[in-house]
């Protein structure tokens, strides 16, 4: 692999020279050097979905004896919700995150699993302030592509991170709270409140899609400003000099707002309007609702090209959530230490399968979402997996790919890689597709092969 030297014109550099010319369409020169030839019209997006606490062996892994790359007629129990999407997924086995292994640090597989999944790093065992993992793949790509979209990346989650020190045998909670790491020392924790995500993307306040209503509301705001300016002018005539000074201050401030509103009106004509309403200002307690609204937000972000990189932590690593939605009152993490208890194993499988059902919803939505002359499904690379395998270990990790990723993923089959093939090789391949070339990422040994072809 060689480095591509073609210089990319940074959008911010451009704006710096162009002064106030905001809202211009992207110029060709600003699209990442290699990415452009690969994207054929619409940019490639990436979504990494993570679920915690690993899977139960028999319910997920397909026996490795078969040489065939075709999918089995009958899916293992956990994956059954995906059977109707068999042509839209690729089942991957054999990938490993070596950094998650103990390497003499003893127990703490959950903390290591979360922090190593996208970084490949072997996290430092500490619950103090000297956190040390690695830059994560999404953040590496986001940094390289920064400026192409309003937000370089988006981190979503469905479970509040645990604050405080030791979460897993001496590993800081920060390790299990985030899969995204801005730097080796700075976790990039996810936002779990749908409303906060929405407001960040599309601004606070109600979104008014109807231009007529929007115009009317702006007219009302303007008439309020007119009205209070009238009050201020009346007072100004009636007051002595020091009081008048205060009213002058008030009038200056009101005029300041007036000017800003006029500016916004001009921008509004071009502003991207999301395909959804602002979600309520509370965190849904139902897991189905919560994941669905996050998926919807993710797609709204992609469709408005607000960002191209999203990570979604579908509950933090070592999650203790109880899935009351499917009648399970026990803590998920507690159940995975089942000690062979059949009832507990059964509950684990139910939870894994329940989460896969939510993933299936996302596939359906992606396929239905228009994007240019195709669908978001055509443009997006999606991975669904966990940093823990079958028995709190880190090899042969459960992984499903979906979305065509502008041609990167060849779907409707399964791929079994050689033992201990680094997951980082997949990171390299995905970043490459985004137009971010790296020779080596963490413990990668190259770009993961066989993704597009046979």
């Amino acid at each position: 692999m060689t480095f591509i030297q073609k210089k990319q014109l940074h959008r911010r550099t451009f704006l710096g020279g162009a002064g106030a010319m905001l809202g211009l369409p992207l110029l060709d020169a600003m699209i990442p050097a290699l990415g452009r030839s690969a994207v054929s019209g619409s940019p490639t997006r990436m979504a990494v979905l993570y679920f915690p606490n690993g899977v139960q062996p028999d319910s997920w892994i397909i026996p490795t004896t078969a040489e065939s790359m075709s999918l089995p007629d009958k899916f293992p129990r956990t994956l059954q919700p995906l059977e109707m999407y068999r042509n839209d997924i690729c089942l991957v086995g054999g990938l490993t995150v070596d950094g998650g292994r103990a390497k003499g640090d003893g127990p703490g597989d959950h903390g290591r699993a979360g922090a190593s999944y996208l970084t490949g790093a072997h996290p430092k065992k500490t619950f103090g302030k000297d956190l040390q993992a690695g830059e994560s793949m999404d953040q590496h790509a986001a940094r390289a592509l920064s400026g192409a979209t309003r937000y370089a990346s988006l981190e979503l989650g469905t479970e509040e991170g645990i604050q405080g020190g030791n979460c897993d045998n001496g590993y800081s909670c920060a390790y299990s709270n985030s899969i995204s790491w801005r730097t080796p020392n700075t976790p990039n924790p996810p936002e779990i409140r749908p409303r906060a995500v929405f407001e960040r993307l599309f601004g606070a306040g109600e979104v008014e899609r109807d231009p007529a209503v929007r115009a009317r509301k702006q007219r009302y705001e303007a008439s309020v400003l007119d009205s209070v300016l009238g009050d201020a002018k009346r007072l100004e005539r009636a007051l002595g000099p020091t009081d008048r000074g205060k009213i002058d201050e008030y009038m200056t401030a009101v005029r300041d707002i007036e000017m800003r509103i006029q500016g916004t009106e001009k921008q509004n004509a071009k502003q991207a309007v999301p395909s959804m309403d602002a979600p309520p200002d509370s965190v849904p307690e139902n897991y189905v609702e919560h994941t669905r609204i996050m998926f919807d937000l993710m797609m709204a972000a992609f469709q408005t090209d607000s960002t191209r990189i999203v990570t979604f932590l579908m509950n933090i690593e070592q999650s203790n959530r109880a899935y009351r939605e499917i009648g399970i009152a026990d803590s998920h993490h507690g159940l995975t230490h089942h000690g062979g208890d059949k009832e507990k194993i059964e509950k684990c499988i139910m939870i894994n399968r329940f989460q896969v059902e939510q993933f299936a919803y996302f596939i359906a939505r992606l396929k239905a979402a228009k994007d240019g002359d195709g669908t978001l499904f055509d443009r997006t690379m999606v991975t669904y997996g966990s940093g823990l395998g079958r028995d709190h270990d880190h090899d042969n990790l459960p992984l499903v790919l979906t979305g065509k990723g502008n041609g990167l993923f060849n779907l409707g089959r399964r791929l079994q890689y050689a033992k201990d093939t680094p997951l980082a090789n997949l990171h390299v391949a995905m970043m490459d597709k985004m137009g971010v070339q790296v020779e080596k990422f963490s413990d990668s040994t190259g770009k993961l092969g066989y993704l597009s072809n046979l």
Binding site: Q163, L225, I257, S282
Partner: protein, 882 residues
């Protein structure tokens, strides 16, 4: 000089003279206050210096030579320093035109700020006559010849006043001002008209708040259509984590409680049922996380690794062969749980809303945080609005040592991990209470007729603007309703838009007082009547309600104002007494008293958690509450102002009583406690004051001394010079006593003038450590609290200090009066206010210093009831030039 306020003049003279004697750059004011020199009082300086000489101009003989010798160097010429040219005053007649100038000059001289350090110090013989003239002249100005009631600048509502007013006006709560920038304060209070300003950012927040409040008032609070998880309250960033402990920033989100409690306010959006879900973290009876040496730790980790590997391989073999997997049997696990359960006592848990329990439970011991026990839940009906939630283990309030709830790994053994509020269920479909306050014309929603707009909008305007409105003003706001209705939108939406404009208007945001003649003051008129005018009854009602309640007038007060009888003495007094007795007068405690006593600074820098591990946020809150309840009793039970200095009672709960070492007070609830007066009594011995006047790591006698001088005696020493090095405090208590360290300090002549006064006062309080606990020794050195004040008076300990303060009750009461007057008027006091302050102080003595008499005297003063016109110099042409 008919009505010279003798007391005041004497005091100033005393200060002036002692200041000359001290001839230092510092201590004029404070030494005078504490010196026991009665001879000074009889100095006839005033008469000789200020008496209007019949033959010569005393200004020319006494003042001009002094100014020319010590001031003209900087304060003359084309570009005088600070824009002050003193050389223009060539005669007494010219000088008397500018009383403000002489007030300022006198202040600077008295404070020792002028001449500046490095310049020759004026000789006593020069300074005494010059200052004497200024004293005499200012006294004559103040004597009533040219009475000036002062003029407060139009006051913007501060954040507290805004929230209170919105609540009383519309019933909309939830602290809409919480996103507003912090209000600046002037003269010690954040209700100062000159200081409070409107920035574009604040205006934007006002606009957004008015939009949101009008929306909520007309259509109710927004809430999810389907019940959802509304909030998750967490003890986030608690010192449970080592790193946070080091950073010293515990309890950012909710107060941190060593006793595992969780408490705070939350605003419920709608009358409905809500489900409370609470999880307890419970990790007691386990010491496996004890702090070990690195070797021990490594050894244990190695053992664990081996066991883990052995277990895993055995299990894999077992699974492969189809046999039972090895590991602890269910019986063994059960036994382990049982042992952990027994290892710790069961504790009662109570979750209460506004003090009423809605959930009680008993938590047994557990060795693994007990998360598998899941959540405790309760579903109850709650009214819309703000409520106080508290989940706690009441028995833990009486722990002899709260550290017994802390495990070796620094985490609490028992605490409320989180509290979630889920809802709303079966939400009320009634219009919100605010709807009824707004739509008063009695029609059902949607059925309003055309007359309603006028009735509804004029009612809201009158209440929001706190005065009747003109037809023109009303028409302007009604036109907004019309605009909306013309668009085919609802009548309610029209009223909402009008409400938004009414709440964004300067007439709402400012307390405007109108002058009959806004610009001109005619000095000639002052001969027969005061150079000012009475504010109208509506303005007086607002002055009263914002003073005593920090909110708009209620219906009764407004109605009285409407009758035009509010100024009648007996009507006014009845209203004041009614308002003081109302719970709303708590605002006087929370805003006036807490700013006066600097209590708002408590907890801004927290006591060092390493040195004072038992001082958690909850204890700091308890200290605040003690002082608040104490002051509330003085206000509502109309006690003596001298109770602030010393009183035989206070309010304590179990944890605070244990902190003080007072026996017999148990439980979480505060109770009134009678004191024997030995160690505790009065604000000076309350943890809040003792902590706020200390450093995070140790006490500071000068800081406490300064606190007493500044806040109790009104004689703040000047700030230290810029080049003062920090005190070396690293070895205090180990190698050197605090007293000896400061004695070294005071030998420095540039420090001694101030520290000779501040330090002894502070040392008198050394029996209380930096968080208000009693102590007899500091490190290995016994506490020595006997001190000598300049003038030779000695005293011992807090009792001795309080005796001195009581003996100087005149100065204390004078200072309280100044603080109260400043807060009530919303402006800094001027020289022209001195006679009024003095006469209030005099009249209080005759009324046993009753709190209500202070408030009544303030309310009866001309300053409170009147307003002077604006200075004529600042004419409209000048404004136009801007």
């Amino acid at each position: 000089m008919k009505h010279i306020s003798a007391e005041k003049t004497r005091r100033h003279l005393r200060e002036a003279l002692v200041g000359v004697v001290a001839a230092s750059a510092c201590s004029a004011g404070i030494s005078a206050l504490l010196a026991q020199s009665s001879s000074v009082k009889t100095q006839p300086a005033a008469k000789t210096a200020a008496g209007s000489g019949t033959t010569a101009d005393p200004f020319k003989t006494s003042v001009q030579p002094f100014l020319s010798g010590h001031c003209y160097g900087c304060h003359s010429g084309d570009v005088p320093m600070a824009g002050l040219n003193l050389a223009v005053f060539t005669s007494g007649a010219m000088a008397e035109k500018k009383p403000d100038v002489w007030g300022k000059v006198l202040d600077k001289l008295k404070a020792g700020k002028m001449p500046p350090p490095g310049q020759p110090v004026p000789a006593k013989a020069e300074m005494t006559p010059a200052m004497g003239w200024m004293e005499g002249f200012l006294a004559s100005v103040n004597s009533g010849k040219v009475f000036d009631p002062g003029r407060v600048t139009a006051r913007r509502l501060n954040r507290v006043e805004y929230d209170n007013t919105i609540r009383d006006l519309l019933g909309v709560g939830g602290h809409p001002s919480k996103d507003f920038p912090v209000d600046d304060s002037g003269y010690g209070f954040d209700n100062n008209g000159d200081i409070l300003s409107v920035s574009p950012l604040l205006m934007e927040k006002y606009m957004a708040a008015a939009r949101s409040i009008s929306q909520r008032a007309v259509f109710g609070n927004p809430f999810p259509a389907k019940p959802g998880n509304l909030i998750r309250l967490l003890n986030r960033r608690s010192p449970d984590a080592d790193d946070v402990l080091q950073a010293g920033n515990a309890g950012i989100w909710l107060p941190y409680s060593l006793r595992g409690a969780m408490y705070g306010n939350w605003t419920f959006p709608v009358d409905a049922e809500y489900e409370f879900r609470l999880r307890v973290a419970n990790f007691r009876g386990d010491t496996s996380d004890v702090v070990e040496t690195p070797e021990e730790k490594e050894k244990r980790a190695e053992e664990r690794r081996k066991n883990f590997a052995a277990l895993r391989s055995a299990r894999q073999k077992g699974l492969a062969s189809g046999a039972e997997a090895p590991g602890p049997t269910p019986e063994q696990l059960k036994a382990r749980d049982e042992a952990a359960r027994k290892a710790a006592p069961p504790r009662k848990l109570i979750l209460a809303v506004d003090g009423s329990p809605i959930l009680t439970s008993v938590v047994e011991g557990n060795g693994s945080y007990g998360y598998s026990n899941g959540e405790l839940t309760a579903r109850v009906k709650v009214k819309a609005g703000e409520h106080f939630l508290r989940a706690s283990f009441p028995e833990l309030a009486d722990l002899a040592d709260p550290q017994s709830n802390i495990n070796p790994d620094k985490r609490r053994g028992l605490f409320v991990d989180y509290l979630e509020i889920v809802g709303p269920y079966n939400a009320s479909t009634e219009p919100p209470a605010s709807y009824k306050k707004l739509f008063i014309c009695g029609h059902a929603p949607g059925g309003h007729n055309s007359q309603c707009a006028r009735i509804v909008v004029s009612n809201l305007m009158e209440r929001a603007w706190r005065r009747p409105v003109t037809q023109q003003e009303l028409a302007a706001k009604l036109s907004l309703v019309a605009i909306v209705q013309k668009d085919g939108q609802s009548f309610e939406e029209g009223v909402r838009l009008a409400a938004q404009a009414i709440l964004s208007s300067p007439d709402f945001l400012f307390r405007i007082e109108r002058d009959p003649k806004p610009v001109l003051v005619t000095p000639a008129a002052a001969v027969t009547r005061p150079a000012g005018h009475y504010v109208d009854d509506y303005e007086l009602a607002s002055r009263l309600s914002y003073y005593l309640w920090a909110t708009m007038p209620d219906d009764e007060l407004y109605t009285v104002a409407k009758t035009g009888k509010l100024r009648q003495p007996e009507v006014l007094e009845a209203q004041v007494r009614r308002m003081l007795a109302s719970p709303k007068s708590q605002n006087l405690v929370d805003n006036w008293a807490s700013q006066w006593l600097q209590l708002r600074n408590l907890g801004r820098t927290k006591p060092d958690p390493k040195r004072f591990p038992n001082v958690d946020d909850e204890l700091l809150d308890a200290m605040r509450r003690e002082t608040s309840l104490f002051v509330t009793e003085i206000v509502q039970k109309d006690r003596s102002l001298l109770d602030f200095i010393d009183a035989p009672f206070t309010y304590l709960n179990g944890p605070l009583a244990r902190h003080y070492g007072i026996a017999g007070v148990d439980g979480e609830e505060f109770q009134r406690v009678t004191l024997d007066g030995e160690r505790r009594g009065g604000v000076l011995t309350q943890g809040s004051i003792l902590t706020v006047s200390s450093y995070p790591t140790r006490t500071s006698p000068p800081v406490r001394g300064k606190w007493v001088l500044e806040n109790l005696l009104g004689a703040a020493p000047p700030p230290p010079p810029d080049n003062v090095p920090a005190l070396n405090d690293s070895n205090i208590g180990t190698e050197i006593s605090m007293k000896e360290r400061f004695a070294q300090h005071r030998r420095d002549p540039s420090c001694s003038p101030c520290h000779n006064v501040m330090d002894p006062i502070g040392f008198g309080l050394e029996n209380y450590d930096a968080v208000g606990r009693w102590r007899d020794a500091d490190g290995k050195f016994p506490i020595e609290t006997t001190g000598q004040l300049p003038g030779g008076k000695t005293f011992t300990g807090s009792k001795g200090l309080k005796e001195i303060l009581r003996a100087r009750s005149d100065e204390f009461v004078h200072n309280v009066t100044v603080k109260m007057f400043t807060y009530a008027l919303g402006r800094g006091l001027e020289h022209s206010d001195d006679p009024t302050v003095d006469s209030i102080v005099q009249s209080l003595k005759a009324r046993n210093y009753k709190f209500s008499s202070l408030v009544l005297e303030v309310v009866r003063s001309k300053q409170f009831q009147m307003r002077s016109g604006d200075a004529a110099k600042n004419t409209s042409t000048e404004i136009a030039k801007k």
